[in-house]
Every structure is written in structure tokens, then in C-alpha cells.
Symmetry: C2
Subunit: 178 residues, 2 copies
């Protein structure tokens, strides 16, 4: 079983965007620089997060990405499913039907017990991922991260965040997407 | 996230081998036929199960595969790890270290919180897989499977199992591997 490398990048970027002020954005190139990633590599994953309404993409000179909702309402499960897709890890090919004795479909009305057991484990995995919010990741980092790393991250965000003209306290966030 | 198709084949084959009598074996070709799979495709997975000591492979004219231990002592986790490898699904690339500000290794002594949260979910997944024994899969199938499917499976096993010369009640199982 393997998750794509994009999951690590996606969670780190979302956690970084949880630290920008107000409705400021951060360009994809800055997010890529922040983790030593190729911007074109990262763009694919940022687009997936945007399609899943975890991020929003603001066009224009002060454009970039920001969270589409508060970090308290984004879980690791949301991010993993946005990047990896919603299909379960175990994909039942119903090979039980392929044997030498052909039975009609009525013999297979009950789900295969192997599939049922695998899906039960997947539910446990997803439930654990859903228990961790993006805000928990950020809070843990702020509480336990190395002070030098924290200071470097804060300085990076301050340098690269792009304030928006609209006042976040009086206007709803734009929902524009690229 | 995706598990390889081999997992489904491996669990089905192990469940079939849980039904052979005594220390009889079943040839890989019969297992492949039983699920409409290519023998060469299945061989790879049978070899993985053998390497993980879930199956044993008996050479010779009455050779084939059989469980290396009772079905009560084999879990779905054992089978999944045998086929997919033991690495966690989330592989932390430590991209937190790759940013524009280079800090020495002492800044990263504590594990990344993202990795920790992902590994916690993986533990939940593995714990759920470890709760289901191969014997549970077989018992559920025997209790709830369609009677026509059960009858076809039993007839197939009876036709293809290969009794061994040694008496399973008086001698330990051979541990020979191909």
C-alpha cells in the first residue's frame, strides 16, 4: 500500500496556508520554494486541493492560494482523499466469480467477506485520519516545533503572503478559482 | 491510496488452502483456475506468501501449496504485508527540511507532526486488519456464502488437493520450500 508523495506536499502546503494572515494568499511558487519542490510538480496537487474546495485559488497580481475554509474544518482525511481519490485502497475485482464453475449473479448477492473485512479496516484508517484537523497539525507544530524552524517558517510566510484589497472582516472570502 | 490487485488473489488463495484436508497441497495452476487468473501472474503472489511463511511450497509430483500454519494464526494484516511490503503507506520525505532556510539536523530531532499523524492512522488500519483471521474469513464464507458457491468450492478443492504420503497426525508438516 502506498500513498503518493503528493500527500506530504499537500498537507505541508495546507498547514503553511493556515498561517497566512486574514484573507491573504500565497503564490504557488512560494509554497514550492518553502519545501524545495518544483512549482510545476506542486501545481498539480494545489489544483487537486482547489478542486476539492480545501484551497481557493485567487487570480491576478496579488493572487495565489489560501484555505477555502478554517483549518478547524479541514481534516487529514479531506486532504488525502483530495490527492488520492475517494476509492478504497482495496478494490474488489470479484475474482470469486471467475472460477471454472459459472453461477448466476444471484449466487453473489451478498458482498464477498474478504471485501467486507478490507473495507472495515479502511473505515478505521479513514476515521483516524478524520480525527486530525489541519488546525491540530498547526497547533502541534507551534507548541513542539524547533524554535528555529518556527521562526524561519513565520518569516517566510510574512515575506510571501499577499494581502488582499478587500477587508476580510467585512466581506466574504472570494470563491474565485483558476 | 491503492493496494495492488495481488492482495485480493492472495487472500482468496489462502482461504482456499485453509480448506484442503490434512497436509494436502494444491497446485498453483489449480488455485489460478479457481479464480480465473493467469498461473504466471498468481505465481508471483504465491511466492510472496511463501517467503512470508504464510504458505509453504512442497516440491515434487504431489507438490503444491498449503498453509504453513493454522488459519487461526494468519491474519489479513499478515497477507497484506506479505504482498505489499512492510513500509507504511505514507512515506515521509522530510520535505520540511528542504526550504530556503537551511537549519542543521538538530532542528528536526522531533518527528514531523504530519508524519506522526499519518502513522497513527496507519496503526489503526493495521490493527483492524490484524483483528481478522483467515479462519474468520473461512467461517463467514461457510456460514453465509451462497450454497451453490460453497458446493462448487468444496468440489473444486476435493478434486485438486493432493494428499501427501506422510501422515499429518503423526509427523510434523514439512517445511520444504521451492
Amino acid at each position: 500500500m502506498k500513498l503518493g508523495e503528493g500527500v506530504e506536499a499537500a498537507i505541508h502546503c495546507a498547514a503553511t496556508l493556515a498561517s497566512v494572515e486574514g484573507n491573504s494568499t500565497m503564490p504557488g511558487a512560494a509554497l514550492a520554494e518553502s519545501f524545495g519542490l518544483s512549482p510545476s510538480y506542486l501545481l498539480k496537487h494545489l489544483n487537486m486541493l482547489t478542486a476539492a474546495r480545501i484551497l481557493e485559488s485567487v487570480p491576478g497580481p496579488a493572487g495565489g492560494y489560501r484555505l477555502a475554509k478554517p483549518a478547524e474544518r479541514i481534516t487529514l482525511l479531506d486532504i488525502v482523499l483530495a490527492i488520492e481519490g475517494r476509492e478504497p485502497a482495496f478494490r474488489c475485482g470479484e475474482i470469486r466469480r471467475n472460477g471454472p464453475v459459472k453461477l448466476d449473479a444471484s449466487a453473489y448477492v451478498k458482498p464477498c467477506g474478504i471485501n467486507a473485512a478490507m473495507l472495515k479496516a479502511e473505515r478505521a484508517y479513514r476515521a483516524a485520519l478524520a480525527e486530525t484537523r489541519l488546525s491540530d497539525i498547526v497547533a502541534t507544530y507551534q507548541a513542539e516545533g524547533d524554535p528555529r524552524s518556527l521562526a524561519a517558517s513565520c518569516a517566510f510566510v510574512e515575506r510571501h503572503q499577499r494581502p488582499q484589497k478587500s477587508d476580510p472582516n467585512s466581506q466574504p472570502r472570494e470563491r474565485t478559482r483558476q
